[in-house]
Amino acid sequence: MSAPVTPTLLYLDDITVSFDGFRALNSLSLAIDHAEMRAIIGPNGAGKTTMMDVITGKTRPDQGTALFEGSHDLTVLDEAAIAELGIGRKFQTPTVFEMHSVEDNLLLAIKDKRGPFLTLFSRRTTLERERIEVLLERIRLTAHRYRKAGELSHGQKQWLEIGMLLAQEPKLLLIDEPAAGMTDQETADTAELLRDIAKTKAVVVVEHDMTFVRDLNVKVTCLHDGSVLAEGSLDAVSANERVVEVYLGR
């Protein structure tokens, strides 16, 4: 297959996924640019999570094209290979390694060789130590570095998971409902953190909290029934009659 020349980082075209006849994604097309932040909104069952599953290799689409950096076919790679390409994913409910310390969570995430024999003999390098310091500072968990991740508050776990994503040094971050269960202050801080990340990396954020989406101040894509309903600035999308009808409510 000759790679089509696409200027975009992530290119989805005509992706369809069916579960027992139910079309979770219905010829979905989406393109994300380098260092772009995009907010994905849409009602429950619109296909937001399935879309992330397709991008990260958890679900194979029935048809369609999914290309990363124009040449890597995401539909044939497994989760580990896709993660190595530089796509990181944060789950909807914060998923960290609860029995490991905060620091070890970051250590496991840090970009490094992933094979069993290499981890068996690996030693933490000075560079890794410095990276962990910087990350701890950035996600404001320096004081909690030796605590078990399971002991952190919900908001701290969300941030730890974002930190783990950053440790992977991905080119694209997929972030599922980062503001869920957070206080107003945490939500505002998270928006700021994500805006900061998006200066250098592409970020796709799935979110229901419209205040948060407004805080992000980025291009919005509204999904419905497995395909794109509307795309554009939040104001333009909010004004779209179909969006109001299926999602925002009158």
Binding site: A80, A83, E84, F97, E98, M99, H100, L108, R114, L120
Partner: protein, 380 residues
Amino acid sequence: MTTQSVLDKQSIVVLSLLAAVAVLVPVLNGLAVPGSALHLSDHLVPLLGKYICFALLALSVDLIWGYCGILSLGHGAFFALGGYAMGMYLMRQIGPRGVYAHPVLPDFMVFLNWKDLPWFWYGFDVFPFAMLMVLLVPGILAFIFGWLAFRSRVTGVYLSIITQAMTYALMLAFFRNNMGFGGNNGLTDFKDILGFPLQSASTRRVLFVLSVAALGAGYLLCRWLVGSKFGKVLVAVRDAESRTRFLGYRVEHYKLAVFTISAMLAGVAGALYVPQVGIINPSEFAPANSIELVIWVAVGGRGTLAGAILGALVVNAGKTWFTGALPEFWLFALGGLFIFVTLFTPRGILGAGQGLWERAKQMLGSKPSRSSFSGGGVVP
């Protein structure tokens, strides 16, 4: 530091106790005056040796179950295969001293009217080859089994069921006479190992010490594995498998590696067990055995390594006493123990003891230290 020191407080306690046992048992058996209170009678040495082998087997289960969440209900199979490899060596050492006095064929083959040694018995008269097989046969079976199961992402109770089916299938196969492993009688009537008579007290003492040494080495190996970044990935797989995948780790490779290592450890335990009990037969493949050894680990404290050793020793000592004193109640006692541990001390004897210790220390006013038994801990 990435790797917590292999020789932490827990390791030092475990290794010191093992060293003490390795010295005391042979001394009390060999040097104490028979009949005195200190003397350890001859039949107790192989019995204790058997417990030590079970402890190594329990350790191998704790490595995969406690640290990687792989609940194998068929680990007795790897133990039995290691035992059979050792048994085949011991059978070939009998030589012409068998009942039928055939120079090459073991008695059961003569009895079955076999004329030639089956090809898979070749080489087992050579000790180093047999020892290699002790590691390779369980290792290769575990590798193939694990490769098929983990690649297909069979996890949880489904994996437990197919490991159970594996050991059951092996049991049925080994019961058949024409498999060439002695059918339901198995392999027995062993005479000597490397020229030393198995019945002599001194050989038994040496076998005991070797078993303790193997347990100590196995413990250190496991400790090193779980303390490395590799071990941290195992715990990550146990607690959040898909997170680990999305971080870019090939979970199936990790599971396969640790499962294979664990099977080889179980094989070594089986190989040391056979010369001390003097027999290996297909009942070692019985599913109930594999389930029982999971109970040892649960009782001792899963995910601690030391707990697995403790659990195997305590439960088996209890079994010996019970089956002597109240034979018909043993299975009830075992079942009751399992329920008790699951309900009241989910972290096993070791976890419960550690909890009491921490509380006692707090009451005495000293600040709680970072636990040395926190190797993995377990989310119930």
